[in-house]
Every structure is written in structure tokens, then in C-alpha cells.
Symmetry: C2
Subunit: 201 residues, 2 copies
């Protein structure tokens, strides 16, 4: 069994051979290892090679399951992963659900969030950030397309993402100003209003 | 005369003693030196000491004129510096003027913009970014207060700043996606609409 960088905390893992025989188990092990690696090292510095080693599988198997680091990230962390569930439901209250999901996720664990990963990865590696943004956007457009129509819908989704990126930066990275000082509940209310206008006005 | 880090490019400068005798000349020299230093080194890494040296004045004189690095930055670069002029005028078309000013400034020289400086400084020094955000917010609130009223106006200004930060990040830092692909003119139109809703809806 390959060693991990946290042998004392890592649960006992099946052999690489065993993993290859059970696609569901290896997929789950890769996702768990990816969450660990992204949390510890950040999006830009985490590597597929390290994630494969932590999961006890080969680099090739990770790529077979997830095709790229961006897609693996989006599959592993909350946020974009849950977007399809979030979009299903009443169209009129979609902005409220997006705002509530965003605030709940950020208040409980901002460090594992895709927007925080995006902003932080741009600091060290703008190409990595560009790839991650592109993957997030493709995923969002595909999820929202179920619920939203209209010629400029992709622009509205881009503006909505920009609003969430700006709020993430202000409240969860620099952590100062009105948006950082208000309660989570106030943020949810104000953000619902703004997202509603961006998507539908 | 003190040496600068770009002696071949720096214009000939008056002595420190001469500067102290003419407050207007020393103020102008400090602003010019600050623009140079912020462009070359970025907001977080530029120092008052280096700016003073480039301007041929003392550290104390820079602080006497501008009181902090954040305030010196906001006085030196376009953007917040011009906000008071931008806010003066018809209240209803204020969002259009903000959007047009933002797009024009960013398209011509994004690297000198306060929002780019803010996002980049957070990468290396979150405390510096927090101080800069706080100074930018105080300046914006004071400028907008002339034109805008209402209980939640500071929240709306915070949301407007978040939108501009997110657009800056997407179009001028990671440079991918719908917001990066559209023309400057399209961006101005879409941004005007969103800022109008954020401020007035």
C-alpha cells in the first residue's frame, strides 16, 4: 500500500489491485483523497499524482474516472456538486435557493468552497484558476439550462457568478466591510434580492 | 539626490530640501513616484519608504500629505480618485456612469486599477488587502452619500463593489468565460443594467 502524507490520520485502504476491481469503491476513495488533498494543499498545488497515491490507485484510473483535475475538484467539493439538485424546483425561487445554499456552505466551511479555491488559486497560478473557472462555468451553464431560458442567460449566469465571487472575496477572504459585518441571515436576504435581479430583471 | 531603482528612466528630481519648501510640488512628485512604485511592485509590496526615496522626500513628508499607504494609493491611481466627479450629476444615470468609467479604465490599463490591486494584494498579504478594501469602501461611501439615500445604501454599495470585484477577477485576471469574451461595449451595457438594479431596485 502506498504511503500517504498523513499516515496517522488516513483510514486503512484497499490495495490498488482491489480498487481497480471495484469502480464504485475506487471512485469513492478518489473523491475522499481529493477532498483531503485540496483542503491541505489548495486547488492549484494539489496534484492528481498525490491524490492517486492517497487513494491507493493509479494516476490513469483517476483520469479515467474524472478526466481532469478541474472536474475531479468539482465532483469532490460541495457547491457545484450540488447545483443540479439546487436548480431542480420552482424557477421563481431559484435565486433564494442559490443564496441560501451559498451562505450555508460558506458559513460552515469556506476553505473547501469552489469560489475560495478559485480566488486563492489565481494568486499562485492564473492558468489553473482559468481552467477551474472554465469548468465551473460549463457545469453551471449546463445545470441552469434546465431551469432558465433566454438569449442572454449565459451572460446573466456570468454576472451571477461574478457577484458570488465578489461576495466571497469580501466576506470570506479580506473579511472586512458591510458585507463581512452583517449576519449570515442578512447576507442571505440581500444576496437573494441581488441574484433575483441579475437572473430575471 | 537619492537614487531610485530605475535611475535610467526616472526624470531629474529636485532635492529633498527643495521639495519641503513647495508643498504642491512635493505632493505631485509623491503621487508620480507612488504610481511608478505601485505599478512596478504591486500594492502589497510597494513601501512608503521606497516611494519617498523615488520622490526625493522624507518618509515623514509622505505621511504628512497622505497619512497611510492606502490613502496614498487611492489618491494616486485612477478609479476611486475620480469617483467624486463621477457621482456628481443625474442620480438616475449614475449606474451607467459607474459602468462606463469602470470599463474605460479597465480596458485601457487594468494593471493600475484599484480592484486589480485589491485582488492581487490579497494573494500575498490579506492584511494589506483588508486595509485597502476598508479605505476604498470609506472613500466610496463618502462619495456616494452625496447622491444616494436610504437605510440600506451602504449594503447596496457593498454589493456593487462585490459585482465590480467579481467582473474584474473574471475578465481581467483569469480572463475566461462569457464576461471575458464579450466586447467592452457589451460589458458596459450589461454592467449598467446590473449596477442599476443593485443600487435602485
Amino acid at each position: 500500500m502506498p504511503t500517504t502524507s498523513r499516515p496517522d490520520k488516513a483510514p486503512a485502504r484497499a490495495s490498488a489491485t482491489g480498487r481497480r476491481r471495484d469502480p464504485e469503491a475506487s471512485r469513492a476513495a478518489i473523491l475522499e483523497a481529493a477532498r483531503e488533498a485540496f483542503t491541505e494543499r489548495g486547488y492549484a498545488r494539489a496534484t492528481i499524482r498525490d491524490i492517486a497515491r492517497r487513494a491507493g490507485v493509479t494516476h490513469g484510473l483517476v483520469m479515467l474516472h474524472f478526466t481532469s483535475k478541474e472536474r475531479l475538484f468539482l465532483a469532490a467539493v460541495p457547491g457545484t456538486r450540488d447545483l443540479t439538485d439546487l436548480v431542480a424546483g420552482d424557477r421563481e425561487t431559484l435565486p433564494e435557493r442559490i443564496a441560501a445554499g451559498f451562505v450555508e456552505r460558506m458559513e460552515s466551511n469556506p476553505s473547501g468552497d469552489p469560489f475560495v479555491a478559485l480566488l486563492r488559486s489565481a494568486a499562485t497560478n492564473e492558468a489553473a484558476a482559468a481552467n477551474l473557472y472554465t469548468a465551473m462555468q460549463a457545469h453551471s451553464e449546463s445545470a441552469y439550462r434546465e431551469a432558465l431560458t433566454g438569449d442572454d442567460m449565459d451572460v446573466r449566469i456570468g454576472m451571477l457568478a461574478a457577484q458570488l465571487i465578489g461576495v466571497t472575496f469580501t466576506r470570506y477572504i479580506v473579511k472586512v466591510g458591510r458585507l463581512a459585518e452583517m449576519s449570515a441571515d442578512e447576507l442571505r436576504v440581500h444576496l437573494s434580492r441581488v441574484l433575483h435581479q441579475i437572473l430575471f430583471a
